[in-house]
Each structure stands twice: as C-alpha cells, then as structure tokens.
C-alpha cells in the first residue's frame, strides 16, 4: 500500500517512518512471493532502522541528548560547507542550481527505478529526497526560512532522526540519474543525493563499510579495493594467461609495465578475481588486432575503480591522482578504462577538474576502441558462433552520463546474429540501472542486500524479462550482456541468486568482450562456457 509521508513529518518519533512490506512490491512475472527476513531484536535495539526498516549504514542509535545534539550540529556544519565555494569547489554550481530551480513538477518521480517498484512509496521519490534537503537549507540558512518557516517552504525541524533517516535515504538512490535526464529544467536530484553522501562522509565520518573502510581506505593502503597488492596482481595475471591458453589453445603474454605503450588499460580489479574471462578477452582481442597497450603492476596502476565518486571528494582525488601518476610514470599516451561504468565515469568525466597541469592525460572508455576493432576489419568475426538470444544492458554511467551510446551496439550487431538480438524496452540512454549502482552492489551490511535485490534491482529484472519474453523457455540458453563489472555483480546477486533466472529461464550473464572473443575465428572451443563459470 502506498504510504504518504509528509516531508514535515520526516523526523517524527515513530519506530519506522515508512515500513516496507513485501506485499507493497509488485511481483515480477512468474514470481510467487517476496520474503523479507526479520531483523534480530538485538540489532534493532542497537542500530537505526527507522527510515524503512532497512540499514545500509549501521548507524548506532544515539544514547544521550548530547549525542543527539552533536548529530544535528555536525550535519548543519556540513550542510553549510556543501553550499560554500571554498569547501565545495567540485560541485557547488550544479548543487546550487538543482537546489534553487526545481519547479516541483515531479516529472522525475516516474523516471526512477525504485519509486514505482516500491509500490510508489513517497519517501523514495527522487524529489522527496532533494526536497528534504532544500527545506532544511531554507529553514536554517536563509533569512526568509528562519523568519517565516513553512510560509517560506522551510517547515522541517531538524532532529537526529531527520539526519539519520536522510543518511539512509541518500543510500536508497543508486545515482543512476534517470531523474536528471527527464527533468525539464535540468535539475539533478541524484547529484543532491551524492552531495549529501559527501557531507556525511567528509564531515561526520558516515559511509557504508564496503565503500569506505574496505573500499577506498583499503584501496589507498593495498593498491586495490579487493586488497590485491602488486605481487597478488602479478600472480593473478599469470592465472589469466593460463585461462587464455586453456580457452584458445595458445599462450599470450599479457603486456605489463610496457613503457610508452599507446595506452594503459585500467580494469576494475574485481574482474581479475571474479570474472577473469573478461580481462582475458581484452588481451586476446588486443593481441589479435595488433594494438599497443599495457597494464601496470605499480600500486594504484592496476585498479580502475574509484569508489570516491559515490561519496567523498577527498578519497576520490587521492585515488585518481595515484592512477594518473602510475600512467604518467609509464609514459603511455592515454588511459583507457575497461568494462566498468563507475570507473569510466570517475576517471574520464568527473576527473576533469583534477587532471590538469602535470596531471593532464587523455582518458577514455574502451568501447570506441573495441568498436574500431570491429569496423576496421582487423578481426573477422563470425556472428553465428553467438547463435543464442542476447540482450544488452547499457550501463548508466557510460550511456546516460557520458553519451557513449553507439559503440557497444555496433559491436553487438557485428558479433551476434540479428535475429538473436533482443533489445530491452528503454534500451540506450533511457535504460534502467542494474540496481547495483553507486556502491549498492558491494554494500552488504545488515539487511540492505534484501532491499537492493528486491527493490533497486527489480526494474532491471522486469526489463530483462520483457526483452526475453518470447524466448523464456529454459531449453533456450540466453545471455544478458553487461559491459560493466558492477552491473555483472548486480546481475549475479539479483537476477541469478535472488530471482533465479538461471534456474527458471536458463539465463547467464557476462561482458561484451566475451561475446566478441566467442565470435573470433579459429577457436578450438567456444569461449563462453555456460555451466562452469558462474
């Protein structure tokens, strides 16, 4: 049932402001029921679940009035910084514009993947979240708001519950920016969510463990968010070479630390551990196409992710500088980012303000280079080797944010038979988030994964079922292609494990380069093996 929650009531003293019940959520075709596991009472007593009954942040409930007051004061101090030039040089202008110019048409709400799939719960509207911030800002930082309160659109009084619920609420938005794309005046409500995440991290030390402590902190300490040091990277790479040899019948020496190569390829390091066929496929393609490229084994030179992009400008800048310096030391012509949407966004687009002067270096996505391999005829692909239904997920950060719309489809059309391509409704820049964006795929605290799999990933699963609706028969093996590590992790956790698409529909998932290699001439066996890998 749709629960209306007025913004002015956001801080009300109720155990859970908008409890999410499984009966609220529209089922997928073929889905029988949704079951949420109960949270242990000891956890409920200790941690804050008061937004929607879920916790992504493990926020301990304050025990004294002093602790409560500190939460409010710290938040207000941080909010002031979000709106000041010396403290927010990165995103001040779009934040101010998105705060000042919303005309409350609420067109954005329907664009969101989560809001409709939650049974239209008010709190998940993109504009609900942003409007909370606007009203707090007006109430505490504008003369009209201070004096006139609700008459000036400033009717939300702060207390610790407002602050903690808002902290959780900015982690119910995957920053996919479908709302921003649809806004008639260009307001970016996802950016507001991201800026509030930044406030919480930089001012209050509040961030999801997987993103911060075992994410960026781990990355800066070990060289990778996976904890992979340089020695482990080299050992893993040897195994990737073994996989190549096993698959294509000959060994390829993966270039590492080659000075002056045309480009340094940055993979999401998770690929090496979880989906090694992906970096293996890159090596096979670049080798066959005679491309000059290299990986780096230097600390900060082999991990492409930058989780700072989701929540913290300081962590973001430290990681990006490390990556660029590794490329500079090798003397490569540019940095190319592999199949990882967030890494592409972070390195290529958001890094623009940082990669200047000594840090200036060309940076781009791998997709145009891969498309060039197809269109140049350097490799003669045989689409018949991919003779199974394929649908393609357009990663939000590459497509919607950066406008990389065509290369992946040029490739797909060249390596898969036309009658086996099943585009999703809304393919392209209108595509829906995989559900794992902005850190969700690696946030596994408390019961958050249940929220992610059942609410955030539901729209994607619905889209996939619609794309494959004529070939759902499990006797037909089918492939969900996602040229993004994060989207693959999300597909595994939601569609394969939570919604059982492998068991029910014989659907598997993987990247784009795997499909390319699978269509290459002279393979002793198919590159994609359907049973073993996943």
């Amino acid at each position: 049932m749709k629960k209306k929650v007025l913004i002015r009531d956001f801080g009300q003293e109720t155990p859970v402001l908008c409890p999410i019940d499984s009966s609220d959520i529209p089922l997928l075709p073929g889905e029988e029921q949704i079951v949420f596991k109960d949270v242990k009472p000891a956890m409920k007593e200790k941690y804050d679940f008061s937004l929607d009954g879920f916790s992504a942040l493990n926020l301990p409930i304050p025990q004294t009035p002093e602790e409560e007051a500190k939460i409010v004061n710290d938040f207000l101090r941080g909010l002031e910084k979000v709106f000041s030039e010396e403290n927010n040089w990165a995103f001040l202008q779009p934040t101010v514009l998105s705060t000042d110019y919303c005309v409350q048409c609420n067109t954005c709400n329907e664009a969101c993947p989560v809001y409709p799939e939650s049974g239209y719960q008010d709190i998940y509207r993109p504009n609900y979240r942003a409007e909370l911030l606007r009203r707090i800002y007006r109430r505490y930082f504008t003369t009209a708001g201070k004096l006139l309160g609700k008459w000036a659109g400033a009717d939300l009084e702060l207390n610790w519950r407002v602050v903690y619920r808002l902290a959780e609420l900015v982690y119910r938005c995957s920053l996919c920016r479908r709302c921003a794309q649809t806004c008639p005046v260009g307001v970016d409500n996802a950016l507001i969510a991201r800026e509030v995440r930044k406030l919480f991290s930089q001012e209050m030390g509040i961030a999801p463990e997987g993103v911060h402590k075992s994410g960026t902190v781990n990355h800066l300490k070990s060289g990778s968010s996976t904890g992979m040091g340089s020695a482990a990277f080299l050992d893993t790479l040897e195994m990737v070479e073994d996989i190549i040899e096993e698959k294509i019948g000959r060994r390829i020496k993966i270039p590492v630390d080659v000075p002056g190569a045309d480009f340094l390829l940055l993979h999401n390091a998770g690929e090496f551990l979880a989906w090694p066929e992906n970096p293996a496929a890159f090596a096979i393609l670049f080798d066959a196409a005679g491309i000059s490229w290299t990986l780096s084994s230097e600390m900060m030179g082999y991990e492409g992710v930058n989780y700072g992009v989701w929540y913290d400008d300081v962590q973001f800048a430290k990681i990006l500088v490390g990556q660029v310096q590794a490329a500079k030391r090798l003397g490569v012509g540019k940095i190319v980012v592999g199949e990882c949407g967030h890494a592409t966004k972070a390195t290529v687009t958001i890094g623009d303000r940082i990669c200047v002067g000594d840090l200036a270096i060309p940076r781009e996505s791998c997709l145009p280079i891969l498309a060039d391999i197809v269109t140049s005829g350097k490799i003669k692909f045989n689409p018949q080797q991919n003779n199974f239904p394929v649908t393609m997920h357009d990663p939000c950060n590459m497509v919607r944010l950066m406008g990389i719309e065509k290369p992946q489809w040029t490739i797909l059309n060249a390596v898969v038979p036309q009658n086996q391509i099943y585009p999703m409704p809304n393919a392209g820049s209108e595509n829906y988030c995989c559900g794992g964006g902005s850190g969700f795929a690696i946030m596994n605290s408390q019961n958050f994964p249940q929220w992610r799999n059942n609410l955030s990933s539901r729209r994607k699963a619905r889209q996939v079922l619609e794309a494959f609706k004529d070939v759902l028969d499990p006797s037909i093996a089918k492939y969900y292609c996602a040229p993004c590590s994060n989207c693959k992790g999300s597909a595994r956790d939601s569609m394969i494990e939570a919604f059982h698409f492998k068991d029910k529909y014989n659907m598997t998932y993987g990247g784009l380069v795997e499909l390319m290699v699978n269509a290459m001439p002279g393979l002793p066996q198919p590159y994609i093996s359907w049973e073993d890998e996943f």
């Binding site: 075992s214 968010s225 996976t226 904890g227 992979m228 050992d235 195994m239 551990l273 992710v305 590590s485």
Partner: protein, 105 residues
C-alpha cells in the same frame, strides 16, 4: 560485530560471521565455521583446500581467484561447491579464517 565462544576463547566475528582477527584462527574455529557453512564433516579434501587458502592468504594478503583454487587443487567448480555448499568465497574462505572478500567481486 558479535562474539562466539569457541573452546573457552572469545572470538570476534564481523556481521557476516567472518573472523575479524585472522591470527586467532585455529582448527577448532574451522570446525565451528564448518557447521555454520553447511559442511557436516571436515575431510582430508576439505583440509587440503583450507590449508591452500591459508597459505595463499599468508603470501599474498587476499584470497585467490576461484579458478586458481580449482586448478591448483585439481578440483572442478562442481566438486568445490560439493565440498563447500555455501561457495568458495563465503564458505571455504570463512572456514579457513580469511577475512570477508572486498571490492567488486
């Protein structure tokens, strides 16, 4: 965070039940984790994998990729899952006292 008492010793676990201090690992702890991870009895084959994971972690500071576990121990993915029904990362690594995997894996 929580604690379990194993043979009179308080062992701290993270919220997914992984050991917080890998140095405190013992065979008793492995036996305890095995029951949690649906392994009825730790056989010689289990111990081979567990010791392999421990050695790799000691040398490289992370868990090896699953393919490597299979290759170096001459087991198939199916056999690995048969040994550790909750999976190599969640099951085998936890029993071997490795910390929870991090990053986009």
């Amino acid at each position: 965070m929580s604690f379990v008492e194993i043979k009179g010793q308080q062992i701290e676990l993270d919220e997914d039940g992984f050991i917080v201090e890998p140095d405190l690992w013992s065979t008793d702890i492995a036996e305890y984790f095995a029951k949690e991870e649906e392994v009825e009895e730790l056989t010689e084959q289990h111990w081979k994998i567990i010791n392999y994971l421990k050695d790799y972690f000691k040398q490289f500071g992370i868990a090896p990729m699953v393919r490597k576990v299979c290759k170096d121990n001459n087991v198939s993915m199916q056999e690995l899952y048969a040994l550790f029904p909750t999976g190599p990362a969640k099951g085998a690594c936890k029993i071997a006292g490795l910390p929870k995997p991090t990053g986009c894996v």
